[in-house]
Symmetry: C2
Subunit: 379 residues, 2 copies
């Protein structure tokens, strides 16, 4: 068996059906949706269709969605946009957010916004009581991700949103890792803003979306020609928007089946790891988790070495979020959940997806066994 | 003959060679450049190569270039980034900038930055003496586009940059319409920041770049995972970045030949229009212009009607920048250059490119003659 990719939370392949949907817009259908002639109209129609497909995945109306270039842009737009021209207000974000929430939050803090960090328990789940205590009448925005990229832990967004809305705050959820993997419904969640990423659900990199509940005030981040109802200027990235729409439609269609199938792969992996005779712990072990993510910490081992050994054996896994690669040894997420250092330092994130099968999972277990042997003797 | 596209300044088709270069990264080469395994390394290598190709087109070093999602993002990053945390300073932009410069400039003005508008003459060219008088010691940034999107007029960026740098200001140039059409060299221009757009030079929509001279201070617009040396967070849009690189390499290779060929098409169009027996004027007629742009105002006619008549005859042209479509009758550019209203109201922007040939130009003239007949009798 050849290369084994188990890093779907870093990025997913583009599904062939998605690429097929995109290709016409990288060939003859190249028009600018802002043009009134037939090239423009064809492109406009494609963007409109993709908007409906994307909105459909999250239970939104198409007109509540703007397309962006990535989840980072969606998150930055949500956070900066909510605090535009505000001098005094509070922002609350969870301790395990992606850097594209934490960094803008830190920037806003430097500008004078009061920042509250919602703590997580040792399963990496935001504590509801602590969150409620920190959400105050001055809180303008609460941002809590729907599923964590490193552990897969699903956060109690609906419950936090209820508390936040009672306090008069807006609610944003970074659902980049959740959309396409678990059911996401903006009304059931009760969020005002929600971030969606293309390249986490089999659309290409370079496209994302931001859900914006009707009537939610938001200042644009990119100003210019007034595209996306003035909320995101810049010529629409037609081909990739089409890809995002197609990917969302496929995700919605196959969600139940893929969730069950991917959970099965997860069980096979966990059982296999239990059979390797190593001390380990599953990060966020007791929490509800994404069906495609298993973050497993091997006691006394260094994750970097394991990742490297696996890479040499043509296995792609991650020791944390991909964009942290080369960064700190212990990820901020594992640190925030106070994971025991002797396990956390050896934590591998395995994440799989639509193109993974059981044979691949079994082969991964073999190669993991070899990598563990190379990393050190059994204790 | 079928549809005739003469709206290359709104957007260009993706060249087949560009799409070919991209496809591997929409298939097997889908990795996240932030990942340390082979999928990631392959993607990282592709981004590095594209950075060198893109930098090569503008005489920059690869490490002076960051990739963005579009020219609008590049422009917003340049303008906002230069005024980050600055409370008191001046910004100077030309009167004929694209909305993605004018709108951020207006926003900065609303935040307390003093804004100077550099006026243009009736050819749509920024006046050098007026510009020099308006660039003051407090001026922090001067932003003047290299070529205007509507008239094709080339601006005296090098001369303005010299004056600006003498005054201690940074210089930004939006070269979205210039790159790939005329020689662009960041050192010859003497600019600190320069914007480049993918979809104006046969790469896809959804990718752009910002040149940043070594040592130029700039705050990021998108914060998060720290990609692009911390200046533009967000997972790299690998396939489209590869497309941008390929397009830049092709543009550099064929620049001289295409300039000559496209100028010839322009002469044929102008001669043909002279033979139509209508009163008209060429906007920016005496200015140095892009080889692919002809903005021609037909006296007493309404541009919208002409565009519509041509659209029905399967011709794509524009009455202004595409993103203004449905907006004001008289474009802000034509207004700023005080174009005579009886001509400006009937102004068509014809723009052509690499896939246009002389037969296409001749056919355009025939259809234009029909559209003019329909629009009103000869005077």
């Amino acid at each position: 068996m050849g290369p084994l990719y188990f890093d779907f939370n870093a990025t997913t392949p583009v599904l062939p059906e998605v690429l097929e949907a995109m290709l016409p817009y990288l060939r003859d259908g190249f028009g600018n949706p802002g043009s009134g002639h037939l090239w423009g109209l064809r492109a406009r129609e494609a963007v409109d269709r993709a908007r409906a497909q994307t909105a459909g995945l999250i239970g939104a109306d198409p007109e509540e969605l703007i397309f962006t270039s990535c989840a980072t842009e969606s998150n930055c737009t949500a956070l900066y946009g909510a605090f535009e021209d505000v001098i005094s207000a509070r922002l609350a974000v969870s301790a395990v957010e992606h850097p594209s929430v934490l960094e803008p939050a830190g920037y806003l803090k430097a500008q004078g916004i009061d920042l509250d960090i919602l703590p997580v328990d040792n399963q990496g789940v935001v504590g509801l009581e602590a969150a409620k205590a920190l959400i105050k009448p001055e809180t303008r925005l609460v941002s809590v991700m729907l599923a964590n990229n490193e552990t897969g832990a699903i956060q109690p967004v609906a419950e936090i949103a209820r508390a936040a809305r009672r306090a008069g705050a807006l609610v944003h959820s970074d659902a980049a890792q959740a959309c396409g993997k678990i059911p996401v419904d903006v009304d059931a969640l009760g969020v005002d803003l929600l971030t969606l990423a293309g390249h986490k659900l089999y659309a290409p990199k370079g496209v994302g979306a931001l859900y914006l509940r009707r009537g939610t005030p938001l200042a644009p981040l990119l100003r210019g020609g007034g595209q996306e109802r003035g909320l995101r200027s810049g010529t629409e990235n037609v081909a990739q928007i089409v890809g995002l729409g197609a990917a969302c439609e496929l995700a919605a269609r196959d969600l139940d089946q893929e969730m069950a199938r991917q959970r099965r792969i997860g069980r096979v992996l966990l059982e296999g790891i239990e059979g390797l005779g190593r001390e380990f712990m599953v990060m966020s072990g007791d929490a509800a988790k994404l069906p495609n993510t298993l973050n497993v910490g091997f006691k006394g081992l260094a994750a970097d070495r394991l990742v490297e050994a696996l890479a040499l054996d043509q296995v792609g896994v991650s020791a944390g979020a991909a964009c942290h690669s080369g960064g700190a040894v212990l990820s901020p997420v594992l640190a925030a959940m106070a994971a025991p250092i002797e396990y956390a330092a050896g934590a591998l994130r395995l994440s799989w997806g639509r193109t993974t099968d059981l044979d691949g999972a079994k082969e991964l277990l073999k190669r993991l066994a070899r990598a563990l042997e190379a990393a050190g003797p059994r204790t």
